[in-house]
């Protein structure tokens, strides 16, 4: 193959469409212009449509009186409050079911995931059956199942199912005893916090001493005793400043105690069970991702089995588990918006449902709702990037 000599005269520039940088610049300018024109077109249409329907834009509607009741609220709310407050109520209900769902899904998911790797054949098969059943059925169907087929077919208040005469379950929900705190109760959480701080200090001291002298005390057990024992001691010393308000049947319904509405129960159960199946798979694959050589090498150093797990396998498995785990948490919080299908008063159901229908401010309401979820996922992905950067293997 002959090489053609470069016959281009000095000083000759190639035409601009052969220049990569210029081409990229032109392409990006065109793209920006196209997006701008598209947005301009949409905004124009929206303005035309809104003025045709007589809807004024803006967030002023948030100060108007809502006029509808909400069945569950963590803060004081009445139908005289504003639309802005319905947003807060909905958001807090979303975070409540999301937070409790994350806790339950993590617990169940880790147990099932570890059970799937158990040497016990039956246990492993049961765990597999759980995962394959709940992972492959749509979440909405599961929510409907728990709500319409289970909780709504429970007996009425008169024939409630009773658990030890203090907890009652009927078609109107779950009735739990409510703790009433008397004066002097504040000391108990204070004792709990003191115990946690003392435990951390003990751990740090124990580690330093171990590194310096090779001696160690069983700090884990001492901490556990401290965290459980100190609040208990304070409780007894202050004369048990808690009384329980136990629900009682009066007429057709229960009075007193703490009521969990069936919508919450159905949503929480379905979200936890569904997400736990995915978490179990993440836990399993995370543990299996650790090369067997790691365990063998640790055993060759004659580390006992619990230390092999604690110092070698689990830290490496967590590196694999945590990123997909956080995205499952995110999914759970996003999926909690299915509450609207059974009427649990979450953000989408209250704010993007009732408030939107009453005010007609579709753009503002949907934008605020989406902004909440976007903020949550942005925060979570920031955490994930930070975590990945922290635990990433430094190879070269």
């Amino acid at each position: 193959m002959s090489v053609r000599p470069n016959t281009r005269p000095a000083g000759h520039k190639p035409p601009f469409w052969r220049d990569r940088a210029k081409r990229a610049l032109v392409f990006q300018l065109l793209l920006t212009a196209a997006v701008a024109v598209f947005l301009f077109y949409i905004i124009g249409n929206v303005q035309d449509n809104l003025s045709a329907r007589g809807i004024t834009t803006g967030f002023g509607f948030l100060n108007n009186t809502a006029g509808f009741g909400i069945v569950q609220s963590l803060i004081d709310y009445s139908s005289q409050d504003t639309y802005g407050r319905t947003f807060v109520v909905g958001l807090m209900n979303t975070l409540l079911v999301g937070g409790l769902g994350v806790i339950a899904a993590t617990l169940v998911g880790f147990i099932v995931g570890i059970a799937r790797l158990s040497p016990n054949w039956l246990l492993a098969r049961l765990a597999t059956a759980y995962i394959e059943t709940f992972r492959n059925i749509p979440l909405l169907l599961q929510i409907f199942f728990w709500y319409f087929a289970v909780l709504r077919t429970l007996p009425s208040a008169r024939d409630s199912m009773a658990f030890g005469e203090v907890i009652f379950l009927n078609v109107r929900g779950l009735y739990l005893p409510e703790p009433l705190f008397e004066s002097g109760f504040g000391l108990i959480p204070a004792a709990f916090i003191v115990a946690i701080i003392a435990s951390i200090a003990l751990m740090v001291w124990n580690k330093r001493r171990h590194e310096a002298t090779g001696k160690r005390i069983p700090a884990g057990w001492i901490s556990l005793a401290l965290i459980l024992g100190l609040p208990l001691l304070v409780t007894v010393a202050t004369g048990v400043p808690i009384t329980w308000d136990i629900p009682e049947l009066r007429g057709f319904n229960f009075r007193g105690g703490f009521t969990v509405i069936p919508e919450f129960l159905a949503l929480w159960l379905a979200l936890s069970i569904y997400t736990a199946a995915f978490i179990a798979e993440i836990v399993r694959s995370g543990i299996q991702a650790i090369s067997h050589g790691q365990t063998e090498a640790a055993q060759a150093l004659s580390l006992p089995r619990n230390l092999v797990l604690r110092l070698v396998v689990i830290p490496q498995a967590l590196r694999v588990i945590i990123p997909p785990l956080t995205s499952q948490y995110l999914n759970l919080i996003k999926n909690s918006s299915l509450a609207t299908a059974i009427g649990y008063p979450d953000l989408v159901s209250v704010f993007a449902g009732t408030t939107l229908n009453q005010t007609g401010q579709a753009i503002e309401v949907i934008a605020m709702t989406m902004a909440v979820y976007l903020t949550i996922s942005l925060l979570v992905s920031m955490f994930m990037n930070w975590f990945n950067a922290r635990v990433a293997l430094v190879e070269r």
Partner: protein, 366 residues
């Protein structure tokens, strides 16, 4: 002369390492803790399986047409039986169901053809499935051409609508996802940031708000006088939502291709589109198939959400049938049937994706 006293005593025969007893000992009763687990597991199994079998099979009613035929205490499958056509085709006119059947037949034939490795002409079948078949299916289902009577989209429903939403969402999302994934890896900062914003926006919001947006806000975005069919609105929402997830799967596949491949192609003087189309994407797509199947499974399950904006997919039509005053109180049967159908589809797809993963895994595994 043998000195017997120097021999050690005979040991007992080693316990069996073969056979069912040995298997039981090794897998179920190897330690006290394991024995406890096995017994608890057996008890749970007993609590779950026995009543389920009694309810679903032994005490169930199968034959009949009205609720009066359900006299026993078990499941009333008569309900599902009586509503079966509706669960599959929605409110599609009875006389036109043959059209839906042809589409169903074609759909499953194409899927089977693409899924079974031994069948030939994969490329042409894939092109037909992605380009030709949607047109044929639309003409058949919607009608209005070739003397076929029109069937408006609000009469479509059931499993047919579920499959339609999932497949159209998928086929639409694939090209958008490829473009977004390439854009996200681009060197051009503006292109890259547009793609990142687009992907992260759709991935950050729940599908239900996307569907609300499609049904409430999309009419505001269009010039007045133009109205879009409700099904099309749902499809636009689903496709955009899905394309962001698809883009992330494709990006994962692209990242798995060593940089040397693209550099070598560039050294041969190939342009960007040739490098991508001939070198990088063909290799990456192969790796992405399991991920694509997984996103398809989640899309398939997510299609149930369209019932919230008033379309009657499989779950929607079951839910509607449950509120029929002639058939009140059979919610368990309805949900179990719907769950069974969804489960069959999702489970077989996930098994197929696992099979592909094993088949495509040419790396060295311990």
């Amino acid at each position: 002369m043998i000195h017997n006293q120097t021999m050690i005593d005979q040991r007992p025969a080693p316990s069996n390492t073969l056979g069912p007893m040995a298997w039981l000992r090794a897998n179920l009763f190897s330690s006290p803790l394991n024995t406890l687990f096995t017994l608890v597991g057996l008890y749970i199994l007993y609590l779950l399986v026995v009543p389920t079998i009694q309810w679903a099979f032994i005490n169930a009613d199968w034959i009949g047409t009205t609720r009066a035929d359900c006299s026993r205490e078990g499941a009333c499958w008569v309900f599902v039986n009586a509503r079966f056509t509706q669960f599959i085709y929605g409110l599609y006119p009875r006389s036109e169901i043959w059209r839906a059947n042809i589409v169903f037949g074609g759909f499953f034939t194409l899927i089977a053809w693409l899924a079974i490795p031994r069948l030939p002409l994969k490329r042409w079948v894939a092109v037909f499935a992605l380009v030709g078949f949607p047109v044929v299916a639309y003409v058949l289902l919607h009608g209005g051409y070739f003397d076929l009577p029109r069937v408006p989209t609000h009469r479509w429903g059931g499993l047919m609508l579920t499959l339609l939403l999932a497949s159209v969402g998928m086929i639409g999302a694939l090209p958008i996802g490829i473009v977004l994934a390439l854009g996200r890896r681009s060197n051009m900062p503006i292109v890259k940031s547009f793609c990142v914003i687009f992907i992260e926006f759709w991935r950050g919001v729940p599908l239900i708000t996307v569907l609300f947006m499609a049904s409430v806000m999309l009419p505001l975005f269009l010039p007045s006088g133009i109205s879009v069919d409700r099904l099309v609105r749902a499809l636009i929402g689903l496709t955009l939502f899905q394309s962001a997830y698809m883009a992330e799967v494709i990006r994962g596949g692209l990242q798995a291709i060593p940089k040397g491949q693209e550099e070598a192609a560039a050294a041969l003087g190939m342009t960007y589109w040739k490098r991508m189309g001939l070198i990088v994407l063909p290799q990456a797509l192969k790796m992405m198939i399991p991920g694509i199947v997984n996103t398809f499974i989640s899309l398939f399950k997510d299609t149930t959400l369209v019932m919230i904006i008033g379309l009657f997919d499989l779950l929607g039509i079951v839910q509607a049938a449950l509120s029929d005053s002639n058939w009140l109180g059979f919610s368990l049967e309805g949900y179990v049937f719907a769950a069974f159908v969804f489960w069959i589809f999702c489970f077989s797809m996930s098994r197929y994706s696992q099979y592909l993963e094993r088949k495509l895994n040419t790396g060295h595994k311990r």
